[in-house]
Symmetry: C2
Subunit: 195 residues, 2 copies
């Protein structure tokens, strides 16, 4: 998605440890006009799929999921992150190791909000090693829902998590795939699937 890549080139900041800061437009301050274009692009990419629900995980995934959901006409369910232990039986849980924060947390989602009749689309802002996405896939598996696709705004291609999911057969579409971040310069993968 060229508009997004231009914005990353212009306003993204590469920090120590392969961190890309896009907090001026994506995950702290949010440019809603850009998010609308992102939502439309996800709808175009998954237009052939009969999506019944969009699933994401708090916090920054919520913005993308809600704006995109308008183009799909379906509800959003966001998994909550918690370190709490007293979780009752009406909740699907999956343990996720956070690359960014270096800790483990539990994603939870109430069982009544996903059923075997659902065809879900997983949306998120970032994919690096794919741990968060695998947590949501694990919850989908427990629920019996089918996974129609995974839509990611920015994939850190060099961390390999996206290509592993593709190799397993998931319909993963990322709007910008970064292959390298060297000396503050971001290099995008040429053959992004949607172009």
């Amino acid at each position: 998605m060229e508009l997004l890549k231009e914005r990353i080139r212009r306003d993204g900041k590469v920090k120590e440890g392969n961190v890309l800061k896009v907090d001026s437009f994506l995950n702290h301050q949010i440019d809603i006009a850009l998010l609308n274009e992102i939502g439309k692009e996800f709808k175009r990419l998954f237009s052939k799929e009969k999506i019944t629900k969009i699933i994401t995980i708090e916090a920054s995934g919520i913005a993308i999921a809600c704006i995109a959901a308008q183009y799909f006409g379906v509800p959003v369910v966001f998994a909550k992150k918690t370190e709490s232990k007293n979780i009752d039986g009406d909740i699907y849980t999956s343990k996720i190791m956070s690359y960014t924060h270096g800790n483990e947390y539990t994603a939870m989602l109430e069982k009544r909000f996903v059923s075997p009749n659902d065809r879900i689309l997983i949306l998120d802002d970032f994919l690096a090693t794919g741990k968060a996405q695998r947590g949501l896939l694990d919850i989908a598996r427990q629920s019996g829902a089918s996974v129609a696709g995974i839509g990611i705004v920015i994939e850190k291609g060099f961390q390999g998590g996206g290509d592993r999911l593709r190799a397993e057969g998931y319909n993963l579409q990322s709007l910008a795939i970064i292959d390298r971040m060297e000396n503050g310069v971001v290099t995008f993968r040429e053959e992004s699937p949607q172009e």
Copy 2:
């Protein structure tokens, strides 16, 4: 807002300890069509104000802020919650006591995203004692931005936080104000400001 009140009566669940669960449509699963009506209503209520930015706090406030922002044509900035201590000087922080979780957390917001030229609208899903809103007001005060208003989806009127903010002169508009929750029955305040 009658549509919202009807939805609370139909799908809201009153739990022990004055807890109102609206997680089937507002803060776990999200009904995007309802959120669009909520966004339009906030625009109607604050139509005379020259809003430059919508401020909220993660996580569930993000959905409301982003959908509403489409009607205002302004960016969203969401304050992050953290218990971390190593926060650098480029961030506004405010300590907030959580009524729901019984702990204290720090709301943080990068300084470059709010300036004295901003007229901000604070949006959130719930207001009870008003602690979270006061944290955002504290951040606004530090930044020098002016507060054009506070928009709340559901105010627990019986906890008094909303009326205290009104008494201090804030333009606080709540789409549904609950005066009582007894035996599982929700009673709304009659003279909601917007009706």
